[in-house]
Structures are given as C-alpha cells and as structure tokens.
Subunit: 337 residues, 2 copies
C-alpha cells in the first residue's frame, strides 16, 4: 500500500448505537435512554429532515436491564455467531438466544447487504482500561479511522484499540452484525453502578464517533496515519483449588489497575489469600488488559495479554454514488489522487 493512495469506501448511512447488551453495564443503558429522549424531543420540535446519517438506538437486553444483571440465562454477547443466528430455535431456547435473533433481524441480517453499516455496542468494565474500541479486525479502516479521530479529540481518558483475532465466521458479539462494528468498552466502573466520569467519557465517545461518520459521509478526504493496535494473544485464569475450583489468589496489588502497562517475565501476577506472590512465567513481555474484570471470573479469565504493533492506515474518502454502484457490481474501490 502506498501512502498517496486514497481508499474509497461505501457511505455509512445507518449506524446503530446499542446499550445494555449486558444489563448491569449502566453507562450504555443510561446513555441510550438519554439519546432516545433527545431523539423524541427533536422529533416533536422539528420537521423531519434528511439526516447525513440515520442512527438506530437499541437497548439490547431489556429483561437483563430490568433485573440489573449481565444476562438472564446466557451471555447475549456470545450469541451472534452465524451458526447460532441461523440455527433452529427450540421451545426451551434461552431468552438471549431469542433476543439475538430479534436483534439480527433489526440490525442485520449479519453478513447481508441489508445490515447496518456500523454497530457501536456500549460496554463497561471493572478494569482500569479507559476507553477501548474492541474489534475483530486490524485492517477495517472505518473502525481504525473512528478510533484515530477519537484519540485526536480532547479528552482526559486514555484510549486504546484492541483487536480480537477471531475468524469472521466465528465472531460472536453484537457488533459483528453490522458491516463494520466495535464494542466501546469503558472503565473502571463497578457493574450495577453509574459513575459520572465514565458516563461522560462514553457520551463523548459516541458523539465524536457520530461526528466522524458525518464528516466521512461529507466526502472530505480523511488523511491516513498510524494507530497502535493491541492484538489479544491469550487469557490467564486465576489460580484455583483443584477440588472446589474456587480461586485461591487475587490479582497482585502491583498489577491491579495497571492495564496496558507492559508485563515482564517474573513480574508479580497474583497474591494468594495466604499472602504469597505468584509471578508471570511467560517468556515474552506482553500488555495486560481486562485485569480483574468482574464478569470474567465465571469465564476463567483473570486478565488478557496482548501484543502491540503500529498499523499504518490509509487516507480514505466516501465513494461517490457512481463509485458505489460500480463497487457493488464488483469493480475496484481504490484510486490514486
């Protein structure tokens, strides 16, 4: 790829902003409710006018939201694989499986031309991760440009781009239903709690994401650059009692809250409940994240580890209508300026 090439990409006409995919991650729940209120007010006050982007606001798991729980029967955000979405639905199917198919109808169908152009799914974590975009791709220029724009905006919250290197057909989360998509994950915030600073950071993130989409749709060439991408390498579980499977150690105090600070071999990893220090035995220094995330105790994840690399992203602009028609007929989508 040469730096002077501009990649032309289809217009982002429909964007979904989803909150409450996990019902006790409250920033997204209250932000989507607030945006719904604003939308209602705007509709009452103004004439309907042609918008540069249509925003679909979704409360993903209303039953879990009502109970302020992550999920009712099973984790909704693991239900969006092709296999699950296209499989049969028995009478005893868990609520979240039914709901995932409803959401796929509303925002997808996943993988089809009818799917929304971009899904931004709002999440919170108890880990000290700041604002992260989590995506399945390290070469989705829409996701990476959105991130680059957020990072360039004035905010006092640290931002990172996390890449889960999962094959497209195995992608499982709500954001995978859109043509592009990411989770916007912000912490630290206890689940079941809303903290003003985290809510404000999420509001900021969503507003700047939508601003960027409008800017992109306006036809301006958006210059390229570099983005640090953290690609997930592996998860580490808590040390556990072999009989009871109960955890026998917590994250070491020297590691707690130090997400994205390089973890070196022999650095303290856990502190057992009797006071002993357990060290990181990996051979490669890696970047820890999701350190002590509440919801991952049941998934057997005490922290995840990532490799960091710098990704060059090209200049992009939105396709003209003619280009889009040509592209849909199978012609190329890159041009030289």
């Amino acid at each position: 790829m040469e730096v002077d090439k501009v990649v032309c990409l289809p217009r982002l006409s429909r964007v979904a902003v989803c909150g409450g995919t996990h019902g006790n991650e409250l920033s997204g729940v209250y932000l989507v409710r607030e945006l719904l209120k604003e939308e209602k007010k705007a509709m009452e006050e103004e004439e309907e006018e042609e918008k540069p982007v249509s925003v679909v606001l979704v409360l993903s798991n209303p039953w879990a939201i009502q109970q302020c729980r992550r999920y009712v029967k099973t984790d909704l955000n693991r239900c969006f694989t092709h296999a699950s979405l296209n499989g049969p639905l028995s009478d005893s199917a868990p609520y979240e499986l039914i709901r995932s198919k409803e959401l796929n109808t509303l925002l997808g169908p996943k993988g089809s031309p009818e799917a929304v152009d971009l899904v931004c799914d709002l999440h919170n974590t108890t880990a000290n991760m700041g604002l992260c975009l989590i995506a399945y791709s390290d070469c989705d220029w829409i996701c990476l440009h959105t991130f680059k724009h957020l990072q360039a905006s004035t905010s006092n919250i640290p931002m990172r781009y996390i890449h889960f290197d999962v094959p497209k057909e195995e992608s499982y989360s709500l954001d995978s239903v859109g043509k592009h998509g990411f989770a916007m994950e912000i912490g630290p915030q206890p689940h079941g709690v809303v903290r003003s600073n985290i809510y404000t950071a999420m509001k900021f993130g969503v507003q700047h994401m939508l601003d960027w989409v409008r800017f992109f749709n306006s036809g301006t060439i958006i210059e390229g650059g570099f983005v640090d991408v953290f690609t997930m390498v592996k998860h580490i579980d808590y040390p556990r009692d072999s009989e009871t499977h109960n955890i026998i150690a917590a994250i070491h105090p020297q590691l707690q809250d130090r997400d994205f600070c390089l973890l070196h071999p022999e650095d303290p990893l856990f502190q057992t409940f009797s006071g002993e220090t357990l060290r990181y035995k990996g051979k490669e220094p890696l970047y820890p994240f999701f350190i002590n995330e509440c919801a991952y105790y049941e998934k057997g994840i005490a922290l995840s580890l990532a490799r960091k690399r710098r990704v060059m992203i090209p200049a992009i602009r939105v396709q003209t209508e003619q280009e889009q028609q040509a592209s849909e007929q199978g012609f190329g989508s890159e041009e030289e300026e």
Copy 2:
C-alpha cells in the same frame, strides 16, 4: 462519667467472624474461607489447647455465595429483627428468612445469655469508604475500644466509626445477634470482584480485632480516650423520572469518592444525564458516606449523611470471675482504681 473510672465488662469468650452475608461481597467470603483453612490446618498439626478466645467462622449465605449474588430472594442482612426471628415460618418463606433463623440458632438466640459475645460481620462497598465499623450504639465500649485499637494500628487505610441510631428492638442486621456486634465495611471494591488491597485491609482488620479481644481478656486495663463517631442522619435518593422511576442523574463527579468529606449547602450533589448540576439543598453541613453504593440503588439511597461528634470512652478491663458472677446476679460493674 469520670476519667479515672475503669468500667469492668464481661469476658469476650466467643467471637463470630462472618463473611458472605451478601454473597457478592467477596473479601469476606475469601477471608473466612482462608481462616477456615488455617483453622483446619492448626487442628491437624497441633493438640487442641485452651484458647483465650473461641472464634466461630461463618459463611452466612452459602446459596448467594454460590451464585455470586447479594441475596437469592431477600436481603439476609435485614432479616434479624426480633419480630422476624421469632415469627412463624411458612412453607413459602424465602431462603434468607430460613437461613436467618439457622444463624440465630448458631450465634444467638439474639438477646439471650447464650448469644456469642461479639459478631464481626464482613462487608464490602463500592463507595470509597476505607474501613468502617458500623454499629447500632455510640456507647458500646467494646465496639468503640475495638475501633480505637484498629485506628491506632499501622495501616494506610482510613478508618471511621459509623453509628446507626436504630432502637435495639428494631436492629435488623446479622451483627445484632451477638451481645456486641458491628459490620466491618471496606471499600471501594466492585461487588463480584476481589481486590488484593481491600482483602489485605480486611485481613488486617480481623486480625487486629481478635488481637484486641485477647488483650482485653488478658485482664489488662485498657485506657480510655476519644473516638469520632459518625451518626447517620438521613439518606438521599437519586433524582428519578416520575413515570418510569428510572434514575435521571448520577452522583456529581465532584462528590464521587469523597466519602466523609463535609458536604456544604449548595455543593454539587448530582449531575443529570443531560449534563445539569443539582446541588445539596440541606441547611446543615453533613458528612456523606455510602456515596454511590451499588446495592443501594434498589433501596433508593444515593448517599447517606452523618453528623460527627467526639465521644469520650472510658478505660475498661475484663471482669474477674467473681465480678462476672456478681454482675450476673445484678450487682454493679464499675470500680474506681
């Protein structure tokens, strides 16, 4: 009360340390499990010997612990009123009501001479409260001396004594089953998460509490002094939508995490989800605590407010056997040195 008087109090022969009264407050769960493990090991390694104090270790709500939830059907820590403990038990009684009666049999009966001498019930909060002892009395010298001892110990965690001014017959929490009792409440920690620093602070608190009980039982005169007591005055709920009852504001960022910092009239209290600041309209400066505690959203409490006053506590010593017998027969228990 004159300063040179020494108050003689009955021996503290049996102390209960309880964890998991709320099943997702994990420091107490893991600490009690660790202490049970140590107890088992000590029993295997040593001859049974006469202990200066007998410690009963309890996991209060095993079913909630297993599910990592605060409670299964109803808040166990509101089930210990005399009325509830002595009322009938229907077939459809919630689990926690059944369990409260079991615990009353094990540690009480509440109000009887058979009750354990001291209950230390371990709790966590998402609020930035440090270590607090919460008790129903501001003149229970055992509770206040324990607190004074903890505060004098070397620890980098701030400590406060909170007094809930509830009539004895209305006391509702597990710690009210003992002759003396308090909750040891430590935060900030998200529910469902265990943080090393909070676990270590709790371990420190329990060890020093037990050290003090042994010291008291040894017969030494323990000198008096002063303790700051925060007496709860009132609770404040979140602003709510009149139709949906959903909250429409979060704790203001200038108040969040500032537990026990004096709140003055007109100080910022909430920030609405549209960004507006709501101020404290009370006329008296008061001390906020339990600011943004996760479990109190459902109870309609955004924060509690307290008045602070300095309480003088007398020197105490344990009664001799003769004194204890005399005291049980109705004679006085104060002496001049």
